[in-house]
Each structure stands twice: as C-alpha cells, then as structure tokens.
C-alpha cells in the first residue's frame, strides 16, 4: 500500500509540475487584480505555487482513498488554498466523521466506564446523569 502510495504521490507531483507550465495561478485570480483570498490571507499570495502542488496532492489522495477520479477533481476544486494546504499530506490523520471504532472487549469496558462518568457518549443505552 505504502509502495503504491509513494509512487502515486510522485506521479502527482510530476503531473503538477508539468501543469505549472500551463497555468501558475488559481482560477479566481484575474490579471491586474489582487484577489480576495490573497488579501484575506496576506502570506498566501506568495505561496500560490505551493497551493497548486498541494491541490494536485489532495486530488491524488482522494482518488487513492476510493473517490472516483472525476469527482476527486471537482471536490478538490471546491477547496480554498488554505484548506488544500491543511489537507495535503494529512488526509490520513485528520478526523473523518463516520462512527468508525474498533470492537474489542476492553474498548467496550473502558468506554462503558467513561460513558457512565459522562466523559464520553458512545453507547446510547448508558443513561447520563
């Protein structure tokens, strides 16, 4: 898995580098106009190229995580530069809300206790105070 991920990532970067020759600017920018995203995040205009690479990175990772490639493109396009930079390289670690949990007896016991204490809220049958 890691092997493939590494190579896919490399391919993403190469593709991104090629595309840089076509267009180095975000679609929101117009010649002669300093854009709103840039003005609101002063440090970002200088990081445009980084954002561009990060965007390609995120696009590739979404596809690798099972999103249809065409949808992965559309989904990436809807992200702002700062969101893209927050996601790049971190998709595996950021919270993904989906109720996923490992099922093991000790997990059950620990969470049962913390639920009873009102610290967590995993089991609907535990009546909180």
């Amino acid at each position: 898995m890691n092997f493939f991920r590494l190579h896919a990532k490399l391919a993403c970067h190469i593709a991104a580098a090629c595309m840089l020759f076509v267009s180095a600017y975000a679609p929101a920018a117009h010649a002669g106009i300093v854009g709103t995203e840039a003005l609101l995040n002063a440090e970002q205009s200088r990081a445009t190229v980084n954002a561009f690479l990060a965007r390609e990175d995120v696009r590739g990772q979404l596809a690798m995580l099972g999103v249809d490639p065409a949808q992965a493109s559309l989904r990436t396009d809807a992200l702002t530069d700062s969101e893209v930079q927050a996601l790049a390289d971190r998709i595996d670690n950021l919270p993904a809300g989906g109720d996923l949990i490992g099922a093991a007896v000790f997990v059950f016991l620990v969470l049962l206790v913390t639920d009873l204490l009102g610290l967590t809220d995993v089991f609907p049958f535990v009546k909180k105070k």
Partner: protein, 324 residues
C-alpha cells in the same frame, strides 16, 4: 493519532495499560474549565430553552453521518438534497467517513455559505435560538480512542442541562450539556452553520464571514457576490468587505460596481495600495487611461506585499494606452 485502533493483542495490552494509567488524568481534565458552568449562571442572555422541532431528520446509514447531517441543515436552509448526492460530495471510502473541510466545500458547491461557528457553547446555542441548526463534529470516544461523529444540534434546555441532537439513527437525542461539551471539545469545537447566500449568522463576525464568502468564489461566483453585498450592508465601514465586493463584481464583469467599491474602500483607508491597484486595472479595462495610470502609480508608491502585481498593472497600462 490513527483513526483505526490496532488489532494485535499486544497493542491491546499497551492500550489497556495506557487506559488504566490515564483514567485519573482524563477525569481530572474532564473537570477543568468547561464552558457549560458559565452558561448555568444565567448570564448568557440566551432564552433558557429552545428547540427547532421542525428540523428534518435523515437517519444515517453506516458511516454516513456526514452526508446525513449535511442533508438536515441544507434542507433547513432551503435546499432539498438527498443523502446519496451528498455522499458523492463528501464521503471518503478509504477513511469510512467524511472530512470536515469537505463538508464545508460541499455546501459551497451547492451555492450555500458554510459559516464556522466560534468554539463556544453560547455561540452555538445562540444560532439555534435564531432558527439555525448547526452541524457539530464530536469525538464520542476518547482522544486516543476516537469515534468521530457528525450530529446536528437543534435545541437546548439550560435548566435541565440538556442539548438536543439529530444524531445517527435517532431523531432526537437528549445529551447532558457537559458530556456534549467534552465530546465537542475532542472534535476541536468544529461547528458549521449553513446559510443561504446573503443571510447573516446570529453572531456575525466580519473577518470570519468574509473568509467564508471568499471560499465561495471558486464554486459559485454569484453566491459569493451576494454574500459580499450582505457584508457591506452589515459592515459599511469595513475595508475588506468593500474590496471583496469590488473583486466579486470585477470577476463577474461588472466594472461599474467594482470601481465604486474600490473607491469606497479608499474612502475608508486612502493608503490601502491594493485598492488603488485594483481600481487602476478596472479603469484601464474601461480605457480611462490617465486616471488608471495615476491610481497605478499611487499603488506602486505605497508598495507593500503585492508590489510586483502593482508593477505588472502599471506595465500593462503603459503598454496598452494610446500615445498622447
């Protein structure tokens, strides 16, 4: 912290040891500085009890709490969707869940404004009291044993110390406010309000609002522009609101509105170089060469972070303007 707990028994022993050692710590941490204590004092100015009973309910399928929560708030904001459509926009099969930034991006793709509610219970409840259900990210488990979950906060009762959620497969979940606060804090207090473009949150902050509206430019320029229009009406003395409106109008080809907005920005701050530059470009597009050149030179004189852009604007004007 990995989302998926390891499955080897060795890991379990380690985790069990960690659990035993850290339980007192967790309990101590749980007691510290929760916001709900301040709420209980009755100084918040909130109605003591409020519930948005009419909020629709989309029971989630397994791992699809993100799309279900989004469908709930989008319908309240006026956009009927179905969970399958939203699943295509946010669900990440490899993570068996949905990422918070993609939740906001999906809202933008549908032409609505995703406004991040500040990390405060009082702000969350105030939105509810103004008719806005809010999507919240909870970690229902523990920081080292997370169970990430999206729910929709639709009501609260300060006297009974309860919050009401549309959550998972339950239409109405009553949770103790302190318990909710702990699960929400573990989700980094992430909370998302979905608004039709042009509408304001109950507690609108100019910078927060403009940042959210700027994100809309990529997906839906018209919705961004309507949001900027609402921003200048709400904060008529806000420089960035006028800049954003100007840029939004310029992007839509409306040079008159753009020029007027940049001039208004300059009336608020006559040393703001980006406004001179963007006005210069707008005037140049309208072939008002002499004023364009003057504005462009003014931007260059002031200088700053975008000085290369200002130079490019002036070069373009000098290249294109007809000889005197």
């Amino acid at each position: 912290m990995p989302i998926r707990p390891a499955h080897s028994s060795e890991k379990h022993v380690q985790l069990l040891a960690a659990a035993t050692l850290s339980l007192p710590l967790i309990v101590l941490q749980g007691c510290s500085s929760l916001q709900h204590r301040q709420l209980a004092s009755g100084m918040s100015g909130l109605p003591p009890v409020y519930e948005l009973e009419a909020t629709p309910f989309y029971p989630q399928e397994i791992h699809h709490c993100g799309p279900a929560a989004l469908a709930t708030v989008l319908e309240t904001a006026g956009r009927k969707t179905d969970v399958d459509e939203l699943t295509r926009l946010v669900y990440l099969p490899g993570r068996e869940g949905s990422l918070a930034v993609e939740m906001a991006a999906a809202v933008r793709r549908l032409g609505y404004l995703p406004y991040p509610v500040p990390p405060e219970l009082v702000a969350l409840f105030d939105e509810i009291a103004h008719g806005h259900p809010v999507v919240v990210l909870q970690n229902l488990g523990l920081s080292w044993l997370p169970r990430w979950h999206y729910a929709v906060a639709i009501g609260y009762d300060l006297a009974r110390d309860e919050i009401t959620l549309r959550s998972g497969t339950h239409r109405s979940v009553l949770t103790n406010i302190a318990t909710f606060e702990r699960t929400w804090r573990r989700g980094d207090y992430w909370a998302l309000l979905v608004l039709p473009p042009g509408e304001m949150p109950a507690r609108a902050d100019a910078a927060r609002y403009l940042q959210a509206a700027a994100g809309l430019e990529r997906s839906n320029r018209e919705a961004a522009r309507r949001s900027y229009q609402a921003a200048v009406e709400r904060w008529p003395e806000n420089l960035m609101a006028w800049m954003a409106l100007g840029n939004g109008a310029y992007a839509g080809g409306d040079r008159d509105t753009a020029a007027a907005a940049y001039r208004r920005a300059l009336s608020i701050d006559d040393a703001y170089a980006p406004a001179y530059n963007n006005l210069a470009q707008t005037l140049a597009d309208r072939k008002q060469w002499s004023e364009a050149e003057a504005m462009s030179r003014r931007a260059l004189e002031i200088g700053g972070a975008y000085i290369e852009d200002y130079q490019a604007t002036l070069d373009g004007i000098l290249r294109n303007k007809p000889p005197d």
